[in-house]
Symmetry: C2
Subunit: 220 residues, 2 copies
């Protein structure tokens, strides 16, 4: 789960923004199936939220829907891509080339999205045997400032042990990234203007455990 | 990010529940530092939400705070643990013993929380060389029903390729798990009553990209 060190943008609440990403995934899946349009009601059902909220979210994209017809899939996809700012490429530095880091690099590549792992760094690059088949040199962490500058890197991913996470975050900020995605099991802090997401998947497990535990019904 | 196939519990909104997990992490960190109490104002500042919302969230735990003193760390920690249903152990089956799956097993073990990886399964257990140093046999996926029953498994984690995810989800449901955490890059669906989180970290990157792109200010 996420800790918003930042808050939001252009009047769009953070949660709307996350939903835009979820809509995009779903719209892409529909496109692959040859579906040509989707209604706010279908999106509402798919994501267990109200149609009004779907229409409000998509309202941020401008006027895309036709009454009674729903949203054209291609138009909606492009609108979402543009609204999310992913109609261009983003270079990413990943720090921590262990097992999790290596898995994240592969995952990002497979996603074939706008995010490119432009540098992989580690404190002990020569030890990183797991990263050997990534077809990319693992750089020493001290090369971070040059890498960020030369490779136009805007986002840093942290996948180091918790004890090293804040130090790596400080280095990323000093090197000039604008945003950090932290997978280390430690909260990191960054100056105002640097966007940070702390991801901790144990939080998801706790959430599921609570649901099973109470095993009760549904009221958002 | 998460797709709630379910919604919520006992009148507690899903987002409150996630915040309880975040508070717990923070409270544990404070405890390690020897801090003895925390105010709703401090929590509010830490998580960029209103004090009123913090008090509302913690209100679900019953009366824990003292006026002007804040919350006692030990009392708050126990209240959070109990509210989250993690004052007991939960056995988890992980399906997909590749790089990501192996990283998730290690992460879960390091977290030393209530979640125990009680079974690791794969379609090709003998190929899973990365999982060899996990000190645990990788079972064939066909053993899932027995494993779930014999090892009292309540939660399934999916870390297989996207194309196989729904099939694995169906098998987990048939075997009797109550909740699924899906890391495969594909949405999965499950019958009513089975709680599913679809996790896709590319969504976080998209969110950060949008923030950098608009680079504007803060209004939640």
């Amino acid at each position: 789960m996420t800790n918003n060190n930042h808050k939001s943008i252009s009047g769009m609440p953070s949660l709307s923004l996350f939903r835009l990403s979820l809509y995009l995934r779903y719209v892409k899946a529909l496109e692959c199936k040859g579906v040509e349009s989707v209604s706010s009601k279908e999106l509402s059902h798919r994501f267990s939220i109200s149609s009004a909220l779907v229409r409000k979210d998509l309202g941020f994209l401008g006027s895309l829907g036709k009454r009674g017809v729903g949203y054209d899939i291609a138009v909606l996809k492009n609108g979402l891509i543009s609204a999310l700012g992913i109609d261009k490429h983003w270079n990413v530095a990943l720090v921590g080339a262990g097992r999790l880091g290596t898995a994240l690099v592969r995952y990002t590549r497979r996603a074939e999205g706008p995010f490119r792992i432009a540098a992989i760094l580690d404190k002990y690059p020569q030890r990183m045997t797991k990263a050997r088949d990534l077809d990319m040199e693992v750089l020493h962490i001290d090369s971070l400032p040059e890498a960020v500058q030369e490779r136009d890197i805007k986002i840093g991913i942290i996948s180091v042990p918790g004890s090293a996470a804040q130090d790596v975050a400080d280095k990323l900020v000093a090197a000039g990234v604008g945003a950090i995605l932290n997978f280390a099991p430690a909260y990191i802090e960054a100056p105002d203007g640097i966007f940070v997401h702390n991801v901790d998947f144990i939080v998801y497990l706790e959430n599921l455990a609570h649901h099973i535990n109470t095993n009760s019904d549904i009221a958002d």
